[in-house]
Amino acid sequence: MKKKGQFNTQLSKNIMYILFFLVFFSALFYFILRYQNGVVVWEEFYASEIANLINNAEPGSEIILDVSLATELAFKSGIRDFNSIFNFNNEQNIVSVTLGKSGGTSYSFFNNVEVREWRVEEAYQGTEINRLVFLIGEKR
């Protein structure tokens, strides 16, 4: 017959195994969720292509992009504020795109300019097109 002390040791050992298992598989589950609908790949695509546009832009340009697919993916992931999908860090020259509820992808642009007044315009002229609009300016 097992004594009380032995039972407690066995129980704590099992709990430790279960906790370890849960931690490992929650990380795995998170990884798979991020890839659902190709969100990770589309984040990489939008971040790098927007950075590439900025690299080729001159100060004074206005850039308008059809981001309907990005907003559709973000909506499926539970994002309702489309303006939170795209973010620009002018101090570090970074554009970041988040199509899931957390995480995202960031990409640097080497052109020393500033991105201003960025916004997502929903249902452009009554269509189903959502547009990302931003201005390129001289670095302050």
């Binding site: 040791t9 050992k13 195994y17 370890f20 298992f21 490992f24 598989f25 795995l28 990884f31 798979i32 890839y35 190709g38 990770v40 790949v41 984040e43 990489e44 695509f45 971040a47 790098s48 292509e49 950075a51 590439n52 690299n55 080729n56 570090q92 020259n93 970041s96 988040t98 995480g103 995202g104 992808t105 960031s106 990409y107 640097s108 642009f109 080497f110 052109n111 020393n112 300019v113």
Partner: protein, 134 residues
């Protein structure tokens, strides 16, 4: 008798099993979705074009003033990029110098480079930027 060492040894097969199962699932997901979008070639082209324009506009002034006169952010170029400009005895570079060797090797993890010449200036640019998870 149940010693602590014995418990540790019992833990190894459990850990091995978890690592193998996780590895297989991750490999499956990556195989299905691919290794992601690779923007390096288009960035290398943009960078080469920008450096060429700067060489045409500024000429040898680049060697005195640096790449800031080209409108580049040197902090961004210092990591995962290389820009090398040579003219006669002059040479100016920014970024990862080892890319000047890696550019001529084959491999998916190596930088994508463009080596060319504009008005006698040798220009070598390379990038290995793939985007960062946040």
């Amino acid at each position: 008798m149940n010693k602590k060492g014995e418990e540790a040894i019992n833990f190894i097969p459990f850990l091995f099993l978890i690592v193998v199962v996780t590895g297989a699932i991750v490999a499956g997901v990556l195989a299905f979705f691919g290794s992601g979008y690779d923007p390096r070639a288009s960035e290398a082209e943009s960078l080469y074009r920008a450096v060429s324009n700067c060489v045409l506009e500024q000429g040898e002034l680049i060697f005195k003033e640096g790449f800031e006169i080209c409108g580049f952010n040197e902090e961004v170029l210092a990591e995962e990029h290389l820009v090398l400009v040579e003219y006669l005895e002059n040479r100016k570079l920014i970024g990862v110098f080892d890319y000047s060797n890696q550019c001529y090797l084959n491999g998916d993890d190596l930088p994508v480079c463009i080596d060319g010449e504009v008005k006698g200036f040798r220009i070598l640019v390379g990038t290995n930027q793939r985007g960062e998870r946040i």
